[in-house]
């Protein structure tokens, strides 16, 4: 019997479709990644409203103030671990500051901005307050900001899409 010599048969995998798909995926993730909201704090649970729409023209200068609570996984408010204070706190530069003590931070921030040549009155203070923060404390934040020289204010809410 004649035996055929087996020819070496190295098949090349066509990688083109794989690369196509992978590039599509990269483009998708790049587009939906949100690098803008770096100042937003995840601990703040904003109120929802259908009229809350992002400004049509992005603000050049703004100061974002995150006011909220520490919460457990179930969303219940828990006290701060060290001071056992319940809050609400302003989450600012990695610190949790009680609202009445936040005035000095605002004054420092305004001074730094003046040193950079930006007038605080031209900066919009965006208050991202948790939906359960007492209204009075939001007003205190506005008042403290006014005392530091800020004049424009905006209240943040999550856009409710119906």
């Amino acid at each position: 019997m004649r035996i055929k010599k087996a020819a070496s048969n190295i098949s090349e995998i066509d990688l083109t479709p794989l690369i196509d798909i992978v590039f599509q995926l990269i483009a998708f993730f790049m587009l939906i990644s949100n690098f803008e909201q770096t100042q937003a704090d995840e601990r703040v649970k904003l109120a929802r409203d259908p009229l809350a729409q992002p400004p049509k023209v992005a603000r050049e200068n703004d100061l974002v103030i995150n006011a909220g609570y520490f919460r457990d996984d179930a969303g219940n408010i828990i006290p701060e671990k060290v001071t056992q204070e319940k809050g609400p706190f302003v989450f600012f530069l990695g610190e949790a500051v009680l609202v009445p003590q936040f005035a000095r931070h605002l004054a420092t921030e305004a001074k730094l901005q003046r040193d950079e040549g930006i007038e605080p009155a031209d900066i919009t203070v965006v208050i991202r307050a948790d939906k359960e923060v007492p209204t009075g404390l939001v007003q205190e934040l506005i008042k403290q900001s006014q005392e530091a020289g800020y004049a424009k204010f905006a209240l943040s809410a999550t856009q409710q899409i119906e």
């Binding site: 992978v22 990269i26 409203d49 400004p55 209204t135 204010f153």
Partner: protein
């Protein structure tokens, strides 16, 4: 001179492995850093420095009062020019309609003149303030999904601190 015959160029095998490595690294990076964030918006508040606005508007401000349940911080009553509207979503809908009637045709110029002053109890949860601000700001056109603005000038009354001391 001897000219070499130009043959067909040898096929160069592109090394795909490093590229695929990098591309997968990128893919994993974007997948891990992905954070699905709900879109946020904001409401502008007209609170310039300096007290009563000198001749800012010829019309007196429309007053909206929000009363809070002291124990829960929830809304107990919404007052529009001293008229009780209730404490649920319907109250905000009525407020929205009243504002619409007051403004008339959007863009008529009345909206530029009108100013709303919201006077809320100190302990009221912020979400109710946002609802009130939203109700006076405008409405969402159900067809175009565009916001029809009623009032641009919204300000807050001085905070009513517990103990009856009003802020300045």
């Amino acid at each position: 001179m001897k000219i070499r015959a130009r043959g067909t160029p040898a096929k160069i095998d592109t090394q795909m492995t490093p590229m695929i490595d990098v591309v997968f690294q990128l893919l994993i990076f974007f997948m891990l850093t992905l954070k699905i964030v709900e879109p946020e918006g904001d409401f502008n508040i007209n609170m310039p420095i300096g007290k009563p606005q000198e001749a800012a508007s010829t019309l007196p401000p429309i007053k909206i009062r929000l009363l809070a349940d002291k124990s829960t911080g929830r809304l107990s009553q919404l007052l529009f020019d001293n008229r009780q509207l209730g404490n649920d979503d319907r109250a905000f809908n009525v407020l929205n309609r009243e504002m619409q009637l007051m403004v008339g045709t959007p863009g008529s110029g009345v909206a530029d003149e009108l100013e709303v002053e919201i006077d809320a109890d100190y302990d009221l949860h912020h979400e109710f303030l946002i609802k009130a601000v939203s109700a006076v700001t405008g409405e969402l056109n159900p067809v175009t999904k565009q916001v029809v603005r009623f009032v641009e000038k919204i300000k807050f009354a001085p905070p009513r601190r517990p103990g009856g001391v009003e802020g300045t």
